[in-house]
């Protein structure tokens, strides 16, 4: 990272850290929403951006985590934050089980399978599967999280919880990206056949990326459940998966700063566009199109990723 980059990053982080002191509850809550989506998108970025696996059903793993927390908390009174590892495990294990037989499918076939998984999970939740999800009502009465003896209830408090977690995620994922694991994923995305030829166990890496990304979605689900105190299936619709997909691609697949920037735009813009009232989604759609046309590589493409994505596109176009 160059010195200028470091400076800008530090400045942004510092600005964000003090933001709640100057913003009202609504604005902080928008930032919280952005934080949650950033977490989800960073997880999806591992799957879609780093490993190049088309996943448009990320909301399913998010839902798994949120429901794990909700069920454990409301039935067994387990404190919300203690369920974090369990949510991660449940979502991750579910992703592995689902992805195992389909991970070798070609791009768009995988896309529809993940959409299908997302829908199956949502329908199962709506139909109160095993009698534990509360059907369309969902689950309410989830307790507020406690951290070091402080009950977290204000948007300002959630802000530090969520963004603290985002910061930790960024730190871990940056290290992961530079590790052997990260390089293997990128290699695999660029040219699967060559990667396999040079001794990389492609299925293993693909599944690992899937499991890890899903586990992160599970933990984001825990935070979501804690923040809302009620959850219901409509929060995990196909649309959520689409939004996450857009965030990753718009930001620049594989680029952590890009994904963060895109989370700000995709979640923040519709809020800014509230002034347009009924036309706000129209403007949003238009902006999406225009941004893609003018920045086809994403807003902040990862270095090297620029070439690689074009290659990926070419490779798949054959």
């Amino acid at each position: 990272m160059s010195r200028a980059n470091l400076l800008v990053t530090g400045l942004c982080a510092a600005l964000l850290a003090v933001a709640p002191l100057f913003l009202n509850a609504y604005q902080v809550d928008v930032l919280n929403s952005i934080g949650l989506y950033a977490l989800l998108a960073l997880g999806l970025n591992l799957i879609l951006g780093e490993a190049g696996l088309f996943n448009m059903g990320h909301a399913a793993f998010y839902a798994m985590g949120a429901y794990t927390t909700a069920i454990l908390n409301t039935r067994y009174q387990i404190p919300v934050l203690w369920t974090l590892p369990l949510s991660a495990a449940v979502a991750g294990a579910f992703a592995l089980a689902v992805a195992r037989p389909v991970v070798h499918l070609r791009g768009d076939y995988l896309l529809i399978v993940t959409i299908g998984v997302g829908e199956i999970v949502r329908i199962a939740l709506v139909n109160d599967v095993f009698g534990i999800t509360g059907g369309a009502n969902g689950i309410f009465g989830i307790s507020r999280p406690t951290l070091f003896g402080v009950v977290i209830r204000q948007p300002q408090q959630f802000f530090y919880l969520i963004w603290g977690f985002v910061a930790l995620t960024i730190f871990l994922f940056l290290r992961l990206k530079r590790s052997r694991f990260g390089r293997a994923l990128n290699y695999l995305r660029e040219d699967e056949t060559a990667a396999e030829g040079s001794g990389i166990n492609t299925d293993y890496y693909k599944l690992a990326a899937f499991g890890l990304g899903a586990a992160w979605a599970g933990m984001a689900g825990t935070l979501f459940a804690a923040k809302m105190t009620i959850i219901s299936p409509e929060s995990f619709s196909f649309w959520e998966s689409v939004v996450l997909f857009m965030i990753v691609i718009l930001g620049g697949a594989g680029s952590i700063p890009g994904v963060l920037l895109a989370a700000f735009l995709v979640i923040g813009l519709p809020e800014l566009f509230r002034e347009f009232a009924s036309a706000r989604m129209l403007v949003f759609g238009l902006v999406m199109m225009v941004m893609m046309v003018f920045r086809p590589q994403g807003l902040w493409p990862s270095r090297g990723g620029q070439v690689s994505l074009a290659l990926l596109g070419k490779a798949l176009k054959r």
């Binding site: 879609l48 088309f54 037989p101 389909v102 070798h104 499918l105 070609r106 791009g107 768009d108 076939y109 896309l111 529809i112 399978v113 959409i115 299908g116 998984v117 829908e119 199956i120 329908i123 199962a124 709506v126 139909n127 699967e192 056949t193 060559a194 196909f238 689409v242 997909f245 857009m246 691609i249 718009l250 697949a253 009924s278 036309a279 989604m281 129209l282 949003f284 759609g285 238009l286 902006v287 999406m288 199109m289 941004m291 893609m292 046309v293 086809p296 590589q297 994403g298 994505l309 074009a310 990926l312 596109g313 798949l316 176009k317 054959r318």
Partner: protein, 301 residues
């Protein structure tokens, strides 16, 4: 048994519509390897344009039912085709050389834009086709109830699909489309104007989608600006089921998806209908990774 056949015909009627929309997805995919997520919304435009033209021009009053609906269908197909071509120009052509997924996001943006444009023009309320335009006869064959219109819808879809198939297989332009689908570079070297081929694909696919929209409006009566999302998703599923990029595959996939949904609802559970359909899809893809009729593309090094 009677109920089984009844449900089978119910499924085929729904599947006919899916198939018609799926053709648009599959044609675009065949040539551009792009999932045109805005295709479902072009279908919605077909339904809305049909309603506006029908009520403002009073075609069926002037020309009678058969001629009126035919003229209406041609007008709607023409207009939606133009819309499809504009969409290609504005949202996809600039991204032709870009990563494939960028075009997908652009398509999603276009979908949101198109939907909300309709909402602003027509309002959020459901729009309804005038009653009594269509003959409401119901055929009764071997104890099965078959409303005449459902039979006509299935027939019309089949006619359009066969026409398209012949067009692609037997004409010179069709050959150019197939060539461009296999290898754009080589097609260009053979003197095929690939841009024109793509434009053509974006005229024909949306025209069929628009026709499907008109049929849904005429038969079901109730339309709203978000309906393309559900139909589009189903049609995309159908295209994948049949093997995306493959035209007979889209037809088979559409009809099959309709039947799976109907039988799943009839014999397992209505509430789980869509989940059942997706499960069947996933199972089929595990066994045949490129869909029912999709070609196995070997990954070349």
């Amino acid at each position: 048994m009677e109920e089984f056949f009844q449900q089978l015909t119910n499924g085929l009627a729904v599947g006919g519509i899916y198939a018609l929309i799926a053709l648009g997805y599959t044609m675009v995919y065949g040539v551009l390897k792009l999932i045109n997520f805005a295709h479902g919304d072009l279908f919605t435009y077909g339904a809305y344009l049909g309603l506006t033209l029908l009520t403002s021009l009073a075609l069926t009053d002037r020309l009678g039912f058969v001629a009126g609906v035919l003229v209406l269908a041609l007008m709607v197909m023409g207009l939606v085709a133009v819309l499809g071509a504009i969409l290609e120009r504005a949202a996809y052509r600039p991204l032709r050389e870009s990563p494939r997924l960028s075009a997908v996001v652009s398509a999603l943006g276009a979908s949101i834009f198109l939907q909300n444009t309709l909402m602003l023009i027509y309002g959020a309320r459901f729009q309804v086709y005038p009653d009594h335009i269509l003959p409401a006869a119901t055929l009764n064959i071997f104890g099965l109830y078959l409303p005449l219109m459902r039979v006509l819808i299935v027939l019309a879809s089949v006619v359009m699909m066969v026409a398209l198939y012949l067009f692609i297989q037997k004409t010179k332009i069709g050959t150019a489309i197939r060539a461009a689908a296999i290898d754009q570079g080589a097609a260009r070297l053979m003197g095929i104007d690939v841009n024109r081929v793509i434009m053509l694909v974006f005229l024909v696919g949306p025209a069929l989608g628009g026709a499907a929209g008109l049929m849904v409006g005429l038969y079901y009566g109730q339309i709203n600006f978000t309906m393309g999302w559900v139909y589009g998703m189903k049609a995309f599923t159908a295209a994948i089921l049949g093997g995306i990029g493959n035209i007979p595959g889209a037809m088979v996939g559409g009809l099959l998806l309709g039947v799976i949904e109907a039988l799943g609802a009839a014999y397992i559970s209505i509430a789980w209908k869509d989940a059942i359909a997706f499960c069947v899809l996933i199972l089929i893809l595990i066994v045949r990774p490129t869909g029912l009729l999709g070609e196995r593309v070997a990954d070349k090094v």
